[in-house]
């Protein structure tokens, strides 16, 4: 078994004191793995992943990154600690050019390293190269996700954390985004993502957790979870595929 990159233990988090949304969730992510967190609507998936990224107040538990305690570190220090987060919406600076979106994320890199790093991103995402001078707000939905992911990868994160990368995308772009994530993992990047679109996420994932009512209730190999009866039960008697069609009863 390869080394653990991200280790989340008994995490409790919520916006208001005394009203936890995440209630003791634990997961581990190993090096070069894609780990998927699934769960019905309102299970606290998004809050869980935002708490890890320092965006939702943590009231209990620990988050270890490469063995280092990063629990409740301020959000702006996360990239320096090695965790790059891609929010679900508004994840690019719309009025800035594609290139400036990449540059503005390079704050922790050495100045002389930046041009080469941007070129590497252009090599990996040729679409962005072609649109480098375009205002990011004018990109298509798929290209926006591409830019958001490139912006996160540019700082060599130890783990790339994504909140529902397929949200709001047309089916064509959904498959494009998941192919992109599978390709990124091949290059050795560790990925943790939360997804509503269970089928597509399990197809590229290595392992998956099912989060229900703010707690991890089930864990398994991604490819096996699809037919796992426990998962179906956790989704209130439905197969997770139905959940992907915009909500579970």
């Amino acid at each position: 078994m390869s080394e653990t990159v991200l280790d989340v233990r008994d995490l409790e988090a919520g916006y208001e004191p005394g009203v936890p949304i995440v209630r003791g969730a634990s997961i581990t992510v190993r090096k070069s793995e894609i780990v998927v967190v699934l769960g019905p609507n309102g299970a606290g998936k998004s809050s869980f992943i935002k708490a890890i990224a320092g965006l939702v107040p943590i009231t209990g538990g620990t988050v270890l990154l490469d063995g280092k305690d990063i629990t409740a570190a301020p959000a702006h220090t996360m990239v320096r600690l090695g965790l790059a987060f891609v929010p679900q919406t508004e994840n690019i600076f719309q009025l800035m050019s594609v290139e400036d979106n990449l540059k503005v994320a390079c704050g922790i890199l050495e100045r002389r390293e930046i041009p080469a790093r941007i070129d590497e991103m252009y090599a990996a995402f040729p679409d962005l190269m072609r649109q480098r001078r375009t205002a990011a707000g004018n990109l298509s939905g798929g290209q926006r996700q591409m830019l958001a992911v490139a912006r996160a990868l540019i700082v060599h994160p130890k783990v790339l954390v994504l909140d529902e990368p397929s949200a709001g995308l047309s089916p064509k772009f959904v498959s494009m985004v998941f192919e992109m994530l599978a390709g990124i993992r091949k290059s050795g990047v560790t990925i943790l993502l939360v997804e509503q679109n269970a089928k597509a996420a399990l197809a590229i994932g290595d392992r998956a957790y099912v989060l229900v009512e703010g707690k991890d209730r089930h864990e398994g190999i991604a490819s096996e979870l699809w037919n796992d009866p426990v998962v179906a039960e956790l989704y209130l008697g439905q197969r997770p595929s139905h959940a992907s069609k915009g909500g579970v009863a």
């Binding site: 990224a53 965006l55 301020p74 959000a75 702006h76 220090t77 996360m78 990239v79 320096r80 987060f85 929010p87 508004e90 994840n91 690019i92 600076f93 719309q94 009025l95 800035m96 400036d100 540059k103 503005v104 994320a105 390079c106 704050g107 922790i108 707000g137 912006r151 700082v155």
Partner: protein
Amino acid sequence: MSLQFVIDGLLTGSMIGLGAIGVTLTYSILRFSNFAHGDFMAWGTYATLAVVSAIGATFGKVAPIAPLSFGWPLLVALVVGMAFTALLALLLDRVLFSRLRSQGQAIIVVMASFGASMALRSLLEFTFTSRPTYFSRAIQIAMPVGFGIRITPDQIALLLLTAVLVLGVHLLMTRTQTGRAMQALSQNAALARIVGIDVASVVRVTWIIGGALACVAGVMIGILVQIRPFMGFDMLLPMFAAAILGGIGSIPGAVLGGLIIGLAEAGAVQLIGAEWRAAVSFIILMAVLFVRPIGLFGVRER
């Protein structure tokens, strides 16, 4: 009609524009209208005046740099005054604005800035009295440059200084990591934190730039007109008009807005009479906003 109003308008416009840069940055990055910005101008000017006096008392009378009306003491004092004004802005943010900002109600911060404005102004009146004062009482001879226009060496120097400062700030905003971080924060504060931008340090830079430029604008008024405790407050409405006219958040917009308002005011004085001076800038402001509500250089979100 004489074209002299062009020079007068450009000069007034430069003062308004330099001040409007601070207004537009505060508005777009900290998301509130800082009514104390005019009083930063006045405080910066009095601080500069105090340093000039202190240098005069230490080194005796210093000859002006011909053909200008002022010598090196004013230049040194201006730099000190800019630093002082930047510190004043940082201090006011620390003790007042940042605490209120964290509670998340913009209107409370705006009202607080109104209170701070009155307090700062009263302190100046208390300390220096409301009697106008001057950097120099020497009279400069205006040189004819054709088309019936006359300009003094001081005016040329200050127009050049404005151009250099505006270009510098524009390059800072568009070419440096600090500038990009400021743009990022004004567009999407949550994402700015996620990509690793330290909001507190960007806020500090914003106050430093705004405060330092307010001081320069104030000293320009002091050199070309006079120094009074109300000098900055009287500029407040034209500065806001310029910032809105140019499009909130845009440095070139704020400066262009300032120049338009300065020229319109000067032209109005000549064409319809001095009592219309203040009204004209607002008629232009309303006309532009009617056609283009986001201002000249403003950008529509999404």
